[in-house]
Symmetry: C2
Subunit: 403 residues, 2 copies
Amino acid sequence: MMDIKSLLSERTQFMKASDIRELLKWVTEDVISLGGGMPDPSTFPRELADIARDVIITKGSSALQYGKTEGVDDLKDELIRFMAKDGIKASREEIIITTGSQEALDLIGRITINAGDAVITERPTYLAALQAFKAYRPRIIGVDMDSDGMIMTKLEDAIRKSINDGNKIKFIYVIPTCQNPTGISMSIDRRKHLMELASKYDLLIVEDNPYSYFLFDGIYVPPLKSMDTENRVVYMSTFSKIIAPGIRVGWVVGDKDLIRWIAMAKQAVDLHTSTLSQYIALEALRRGIIERNIPKIREAYKVKRDAMLDALAKYMPEQVTWTRPIGGMFVWASAQGIRTEDMLPMAVSKYKVAYVPGKSFYPDEDVHTSMRLNFTYPSVDMIYEGIRRLSNAIKEELSKNQH
Amino acid sequence: MMDIKSLLSERTQFMKASDIRELLKWVTEDVISLGGGMPDPSTFPRELADIARDVIITKGSSALQYGKTEGVDDLKDELIRFMAKDGIKASREEIIITTGSQEALDLIGRITINAGDAVITERPTYLAALQAFKAYRPRIIGVDMDSDGMIMTKLEDAIRKSINDGNKIKFIYVIPTCQNPTGISMSIDRRKHLMELASKYDLLIVEDNPYSYFLFDGIYVPPLKSMDTENRVVYMSTFSKIIAPGIRVGWVVGDKDLIRWIAMAKQAVDLHTSTLSQYIALEALRRGIIERNIPKIREAYKVKRDAMLDALAKYMPEQVTWTRPIGGMFVWASAQGIRTEDMLPMAVSKYKVAYVPGKSFYPDEDVHTSMRLNFTYPSVDMIYEGIRRLSNAIKEELSKNQH
């Protein structure tokens, strides 16, 4: 028996399994999970079965073969058309296809971050982005948000402080639309202000945009990339929510030198993203399936969001507050007087409901009163019942803490 | 316009694009490529089209959804049966599914290598393994081979020297069967000796085994993992050559603690390997397609290997020597008096033939007289014609260098 620990690199010591992953271990059949971040499988387009078959039959010698690290050119061309509707202009050389957007997060961290460099994020922010970046050991500086998104005066303070401390800022990571975990969307004024600050301090912005396809209330917010006249936004999105996560296809748009460096790193990591998956995505775009599917998913998720907000209003004690997202997949709920990570075992075992404790979404894991609630995976009935159960768990926790 | 260079991490400075990749840029339609390492697309099983369709229809809610980082359990169970025929025993907890075996190489490097640690490899060795490991900045120590594989006295010298120099050896990376690039297979005696040395010095072995499915001459060589009584072999293989590379599915077998660390690293890198691809591989195993396909591929590649060896004997000048692989995908040819990387532009532009210069397969890029020739992708006719062209290029280069 070898001593495996003695073989581990230093960077391995800094890894930890995500809380979502640990959480899933406890979840049995009778638990309603508002944790996770999965799309509703009924939104996976039925046409995918025929597409997969057609692609293998008619294009198998490419679709099953090794491919270019940067991705399939025809898919890039379809993406160029797809993104144009959001005002994003790109050429093939400015796009790379990734193995889901998780890989994009890792590769951006990998090519830019030296230990000790500064990375600025919203606070809270997507936990798997923190996990990806932290592997490269940056200082992560979280900037507080209000209902209009990241607070720009606080951002400028953070930028100035990093500069004064001599910490090179590698990028500002934001999810401006229907943020994960809070569901908050950055206002247009804030977006303009963010672009101005990035320009003023010559900073790179990493814009993560998986959710903007699902805006429920007719409010349109343009991606930062569409406002980017100085080529300082690296934009990333994914087919996970508009086709299916299981194919693992995401993409990145940015300065062509940066894309070239990302490609060089990706070559050593996995050679290229599944060509079969890329051809499936290409064909789903070409046949108009994604465009036809998005409004259906949007409508289904709107009903579920409404159900969750209604259930929260109906069941939650007055100490609990929550966000009212205009789209996306998540509601963020908070209550003074509870520690959501401590409450979770009781919520799961006694009340049979699960959620993601908010702590892991904070760069310093220093806030304990929040939780992320997903409304896209459970059915409307499960949402009502799940929120009802959760409210009972919270009431028990609050009363316990009053004694 | 941002200064992207100022944002790059130190590790990015050490990256370089692979020579294969650079080479491909020159290759036009009229060039016969013996470079690359692609399977013959006529070996991709026809049944994949129906399998993909069936999997999406009958198992879409799992096969298109997010999955466990470690991989699909049913696929692991099929792999356990598949590997048992080679004497490899494993449990689910000892297996992780990866995005091709390239990702396995990266993850093993990532979790073990600190800058300055020693990694021992065959010399020459697979260039993409060098590329993956070098991202983590180890000292790579190449150990010379003869026609029986890595020379064990030289290996022991290298181990002792590393220990004396105070450099922690993280693992010995070997491709014992039909090695890439040389085509050489390690003899059974050498395999036993390697296992003894690993035990004596308490070292981890990384066994990369993509080619053992294609042994042409009835000579069987057991994987090191089947001889591993001390759980010190990390075994990796891939579906790239027995199904198709485009699905990007590989796997790793090893000590369960090590697999757990690899899974934790993989979670931050790409969450999980395409579930669709995993279900396709699972179904191809379950329906016996892979088992039926392997003998056909073996026969097709044997014919091509024979063609290449025959063409080499027929056309090459006497200064050229080459290996006679018992299987796999590559022949390794060498000639004193030429520098294959310098000859390549002439070979491509004037003689319309491409190969991979040997230099990049050496950890220190210090040998210039060899080249890797692939026989699986080109047709038999193209092999004869390609070798004829290559022999003319070599003759020109040799005569030039004599003046």
